[in-house]
């Protein structure tokens, strides 16, 4: 009889379902996975080391480049850490704007996840729908910060500027006739809040469409139900957070349990799974989008009624207004010192965590009193999730590995840092 040996294959780094540059070394017995060994670090940029050589303010844009599908949430954790170390108060309106943008980001992230997860395991259509909606939300990003992806909108002490009063509009050109432009601009006549409200009203219907496409779809269920089951005990042991933990039936959401900003004023529910398989985690994400949509609506109501400052008035942390800086010597000095030497953060250490769309994103910041961090550790949610790949994939078919990578919502930018 011929000798039968296990077979090793490389999954990635050049694989469309590897979500970037993941190299997964798989040992197969026939078609069954015996060992899955993820090799990460192909996108390692030593962000934490680079941050040690930048001033506290200069590090904000690095946060966008970690998890590049939920940019503002990364900035949020970093800003919280700096604010706690300095002890600066964030104006209430800025807190609402942060919650508002965080939830927009959560929808963005989950749309990408569900679209690409479905694409990876054979449902081509989903990604077309979810990217259509993402486009609207990326326009929101662009309107508030000027950049579609790398926003750098949150700053220690608040946010960079108030929400804009108008949305950018389409113009006629040789590809777009007046009727198309009029249709495209219909929701863009008012302010940014009007645009997002219009989106919120449409979005519940879109979610129903996604449910129609996937939730009871026989193929989708065959690919996800009972794949990569994680018990609640193992999920805790493995350091799971976010939808991965809630999919296993543990009711744990930092927005409820350890509220930051104004989440304690928001009405929303935490969806929890029961089986801890890929399908439950998908359902949790779908429901989270609906809840986020509700939170966005609540924020819109409040933001409409309550104007106010959006960044702290302390010029040791935030720059003074442009006009004041041009007219006033003291403000000029503040501006100059802040952008050359940077702010000084009192010695100490702090761990700030937020409920990132993927789980708990934490920033452990150590300061020795200088204008630069002494050490900044970024606790990315994807790292422990990917570490559990072997445990989740063992005994499953090769094709299920794709489903598992999809369900852990992998973004290598934040796993590798």
């Amino acid at each position: 009889m011929a000798e039968i040996k296990n077979y090793s294959i490389n999954f990635g780094p050049q694989h469309p379902a590897a979500h970037g540059v993941l190299r997964l070394v798989l040992e197969l017995d026939g078609e069954v996975v015996v060992r899955a060994d993820p090799h990460i670090g192909l996108l390692h940029r030593a962000t934490e080391k680079l941050i040690e050589t930048r001033t506290w303010l200069q590090s904000v844009p690095y946060m966008d480049r970690l998890d590049y599908v939920s940019m503002m949430c990364n900035e949020h954790a970093y800003c919280l850490a700096v604010e706690r170390l300095i002890g600066v108060e964030v104006p209430l309106r800025a807190q609402y704007i942060r919650v508002f943008m965080d939830e927009v980001t959560r929808i963005l992230n989950h749309l990408l996840n569900i679209g690409t997860h479905a694409l990876d395991i054979g449902a081509m259509t989903m990604v077309l729908y979810t990217f259509r909606e993402r486009e609207d939300l990326l326009d929101v990003y662009e309107a508030v910060s000027g950049a579609r992806l790398h926003a750098a909108y949150y700053r220690p002490g608040g946010v960079y500027r108030d929400l804009p009063e108008s949305m950018p509009r389409y113009t006629e050109n040789k590809f777009k006739d007046p009727a198309t432009v009029k249709r495209l601009n219909a929701a863009r006549e008012g302010s940014l809040l009007d645009f997002v409200e219009d989106f919120c009203n449409r979005f519940d219907g879109y979610l129903d469409e996604y449910h129609t496409l996937l939730t009871d779809n026989r193929i989708w269920k065959q690919r996800t139900v009972d794949v990569a089951v994680v018990s609640p005990e193992r999920a805790l042991q493995l350091g799971f957070t976010g939808p991965m933990l809630r999919g296993s039936g543990v009711e744990w959401d930092l927005r409820k349990k350890q509220p930051y900003e104004v989440y304690d004023r928001m009405q929303f529910d935490i969806p929890v799974g029961s089986n801890g398989d890929c399908y439950d985690r998908y359902l949790v994400r779908m429901e989270e989008m609906r809840q986020s949509n509700g939170i966005v609506r609540q924020c819109i109501d409040w933001l409409r009624k309550n104007p106010g400052p959006v960044i702290t008035a302390s010029h040791k942390v935030a720059p003074p207004a442009r006009e004041a800086m041009k007219a006033n010597m003291e403000e000029l000095i503040h501006h100059f010192k802040l952008f050359s030497e940077g702010m000084h953060v009192p010695a100490g250490e702090v761990y700030a965590a937020i409920e990132h769309p993927k789980g708990e994103f934490g920033v452990w910041a150590v300061s020795d009193g200088a204008n630069k961090p002494y050490r900044l550790k970024l606790r990315s949610p994807g790292f422990p999730h990917l570490a559990a790949t072997h445990e989740m994939a063992k005994g499953h078919m090769l094709a299920d590995v794709t489903a598992i990578i999809g369900t852990i919502d992998l973004v290598l930018g934040d796993t590798d840092r």
């Binding site: 990460i40 670090g41 390692h44 030593a46 934490e48 080391k49 680079l50 050589t53 930048r54 001033t55 200069q58 706690r84 170390l85 193992r234 805790l236 042991q237 493995l238 350091g239 957070t241 543990v250 744990w252 349990k257 350890q258 040791k316 050359s340 030497e341 940077g342 000084h344 100490g348 250490e349 702090v350 761990y351 965590a353 708990e360 934490g362 452990w364 150590v366 020795d368 009193g369 200088a370 204008n371 630069k372 002494y374 050490r375 550790k377 606790r379 790292f383 422990p384 990917l386 570490a387 590798d416 840092r417």
Partner: protein
């Protein structure tokens, strides 16, 4: 909030007593510091004791204190952030490696499975060895990387750079050609810097 944390400090003193130093409560967070030798026992107690119940290791990270002016502890430490879902509180556990030349700590993978990759990362970036770790390989740096890049004595630009050599028709390593530069110097100001003094 601080009442709750006071209670946590009290519990830590009662349960762990002599094996840990005095719990430090600062900026709404509790920190305890221990030596590597006691790490396993303390970690088990923290996880299993019904009054503490730190079920989850959220984060473990290495740190090099060699450039921290006036740091009272040892050079290398592994810092764990723990969460208790039962009691809804957090704890920072700093474990000092006794030897700065060859830092060794016991592995926590038996207590929290999540420690596996975090310890690989701390080993890779700081060279902290974890005794008993099942698979202590490098994780983030390149295959065949030499050194531990996050140590404070490792330059930001590194020692080698990579390029394609058309003659050998392969990728080669060579010493870095970047000039080190620092646009904004690192400055620690005295306590009262920038405060307007009372000039009468």
């Amino acid at each position: 909030m601080s009442v709750k944390l006071e209670r946590l400090c009290q519990k830590l003193r009662e349960v762990l007593g002599g094996s840990i130093g005095e719990p430090m409560l600062r900026l709404g967070e509790v920190t305890i510091e221990i030596d590597g030798a006691a790490a396993l026992e303390v970690a088990r107690t923290l996880r299993d004791h019904p009054e503490l119940r730190f079920e989850q290791l959220i984060d473990l990270s290495g740190i090099d204190y060699s450039a921290y002016a006036g740091w009272p502890g040892k050079r290398f430490a592994a810092v764990c952030h723990l969460t208790s879902l039962t009691h809804n509180w957090r704890l920072r556990l700093r474990i000092y490696a006794p030897d700065a030349e060859y830092p060794v700590l016991p592995t926590l993978t038996d207590v929290w499975s999540a420690a596996n990759w975090y310890e690989r990362e701390a080993f890779d970036l700081y060279g902290i060895m974890f005794d008993g770790h099942p698979d202590l390989r490098r994780i983030l740096t390149d295959y065949g990387f030499v050194g531990h890049p996050f140590r404070k004595d490792f330059p930001v630009s590194g020692y080698v750079e990579m390029r394609y050599d058309p003659e050998q028709q392969r990728v080669v390593y060579q010493p870095v050609t970047i000039e080190p530069r620092e646009v904004t110097p690192r400055i620690v100001r005295e306590e009262q810097y920038g405060k307007v003094s009372d000039r009468g």
